[in-house]
Subunit: 398 residues, 2 copies
């Protein structure tokens, strides 16, 4: 019989999708160029030319049977080694190939990490604001996702609330820094305090608590901001990475799990990922894409546009009197709305063809997210619309 | 804490992998060319040139942001439509794009199909001989895989045993025709009888029983053999397909789920696949590979070598007096071993550098599998080794 659990999920339509559909429909009316669509986190700069060239080179020169043949279930050995070497060099954590498991993006990575360290009923804590897909990612495994309330002043970790929510059922903490939706980068002090707390609590409860560190925005960090490597602070860290944002390849779904070598049974965890794959139908990512990213591991797309856009938007928001924490990275910003109900605020913005995402699904009320992975020229025009929106709808405010 | 269930799986080393490791080690000693490795089902003919050309064309001509951007979670619309049109035309079942869900290979397809129609504790029946990976595929969902004993005379379905094992907990039947490991194609009569039985039992139990039809070998069918389309016989059929074998692309992991349009709530099932994906970390397959296979849907690699090899091997086996059912497709053959214990038989064959896989893990005792996706010239040499093996080890037999 058709399983009701999944059928029921179909009725819950995502706010972001609704907004995106509105943007498309409105675009058909007035031209998409005139719709200021800040709803989707789809990279707006092309992949590095080297990636494309490497793909073509592989297709033109490699024996197709070797190129497209079955690859080892943990990932192609040379690719795993290249990833490990790159991580070791950059972060000083001595990863080797055996600590890497290639995945189809960060979603695939998290699916394995969660299953490695939690059973149904176990708890995973995450911190608001958080990426709403964490709910299906975790809930459908049978583990329980609990959300620690936000520290809205700076979107670092609210440690008091965190400590109150930690229990001996907590098996993992899922963090995302640089953060979607706030754009905030956790400071070294935050990471250190998180590590210390988990160390203490692991001892108290008599079992390991893992950090599952979701790092797709690791390469998008703005000038002067320090982005500490979580794994360098805490042994029991399972890093989940995606090349979607750094190489502008979201449709090609390529990423990895990297288990800290100092983690108890690090290699076992990686090998377990191979077993988990058999049950969830995850296949290692396509050979050709593994091989091609391995050649551009230390490159990124030209990510500078995101900082340019952020500075423009941040300055205007400040001028208009918004309360907003300045992003340290990503292509998101998460200001406070000008009225309590963010949904109403974002609904009003639609009249000005501004597509803003209300904050509720990110676990924080009264804010909105702008995904500024769009052309700078369009950002500039959108800021005029933002100004009109605020001046017209909230005259007493501005 | 590390989850014991997956850790425990690490100790069970697969027989096929052990054999493959032996082949590699022996190859290092005497040259891999002299090892007659029949262990692995890795295609031995290159992908069609058109696939490679289409990949290069996409990379050279398409806007990289469009090419590599996020794709819809059910698959790229034009690709789903192309798959549906191809299926409709070939099999006369009126598939539309909305009945197709793109997956990373057949393993990904089965992972979704099983979750659509079973809950933990529900039963799925399959027929021996069967692909041993079905066990982790099913067992790790919490559903229970039960194996109907083989009808060894012809490897069609043993309906008496099947009817005895059907219960009201049976929610699906998982079939694989053309079959790995036997190479047998179910006859139209077998499929019709299966459909009739399930129809009758669905009514008796008051709930649908689905056929999950795993069809990666659909395109490898030998002369004169009729390969009926399962879906044309039974409405509640979820077809799981992979291009791994037809296009020689096993490393690129591309396939689909096709839900029969006549299935109750067909479109809902497809949409549910999109929800299931969120929980298991399955991402839709890479955009570029979806687009490239869509251009070669009605092509295959040159598959004729498999039939050539089969005929050579079959003839020699018959000459030597083996009991063997002639394969109708695939690149497998599944003869009866010359002694009761297939493991002992295959162990002895290693002395002749013949790598044969004992049948026990396929759910049938006393047989062995040969995967003849190797060069014909090597097959010919291997048959000399087979002759020596039989004459030396089983002189009274030959």
């Amino acid at each position: 019989m058709i399983v009701q659990k999944y059928k029921d999920m179909l009725s819950g339509k995502s706010v972001i999708r609704q907004l995106s559909e509105f943007a498309t429909a409105r675009g058909a009316e007035i031209g998409y160029d005139n719709v200021f669509d800040y709803s989707l986190g789809n990279p707006s700069v092309p992949t590095p030319r080297e990636f494309t060239e490497e793909m073509i080179r592989l297709l033109e020169t490699k024996d197709p049977m070797e190129l497209h043949g079955y690859s080892p279930s943990l990932g192609i050995t040379s690719v795993r080694e290249a990833v490990a070497a790159s991580l070791s060099k950059r972060f000083g954590v001595p990863y080797e190939g055996k600590h890497i498991f290639m995945t189809s993006g960060a979603a695939g990575a998290i699916a394995h990490a969660v299953r490695c360290v939690t059973q149904p009923g176990d708890e995973i804590l995450t911190f608001a604001p958080f990426f709403p897909e964490y709910h299906p990612y975790i809930d459908l495994t049978g583990a329980v996702l609990k959300v620690v309330p936000a520290q809205v002043e700076d979107f670092q970790i609210n440690f008091r609330a965190f400590e109150e929510m930690l229990t001996d059922k907590t098996m993992a903490v899922l963090i995302n820094t640089p953060n979607n939706p706030s754009g905030i980068v956790y400071s070294p002090e935050t990471i250190q305090k998180l590590a210390d707390t988990l160390q203490r609590k692991s001892e108290e409860y008599g079992h390991d608590i893992f950090i599952i560190s979701d790092e797709p925005y690791r390469e998008i960090v703005f000038e002067g901001v320090v982005n500490p490597c979580v794994s360098a602070y805490y042994s029991n860290t399972i890093m989940c990475y995606s090349f979607s944002k750094s190489l502008s390849l979201p449709g090609e779904r390529i990423g990895y799990v990297a288990v800290n070598p100092a983690c108890r049974e690090a290699e076992t965890l990686v090998n377990m990922c191979g077993q988990i794959s058999r049950g969830i139908g995850h296949n290692c990512p396509p050979s050709i894409i593994q091989l091609a990213v391995a050649r551009v591991l230390n490159r990124t797309a030209d990510l500078s546009v995101y900082e340019t856009n952020m500075e423009l938007i941040y300055r205007t928001l400040m001028e208009l009197g918004f309360t907003v924490v300045k992003p340290g990275g990503t292509f998101y910003i998460f200001p406070k709305a000008l009225e309590e109900d963010a949904k109403v605020f974002c609904q009003k913005a639609l009249k000005y063809d501004l597509i803003l995402v209300p904050s509720d699904s990110f676990g924080v009320p009264g804010h909105f997210r702008m995904a500024y992975c769009i052309d700078t020229e369009k950002v500039q025009r959108s800021l005029e619309a933002l100004r009109r929106f605020v001046e017209t709808e909230y005259p007493s405010f501005s």
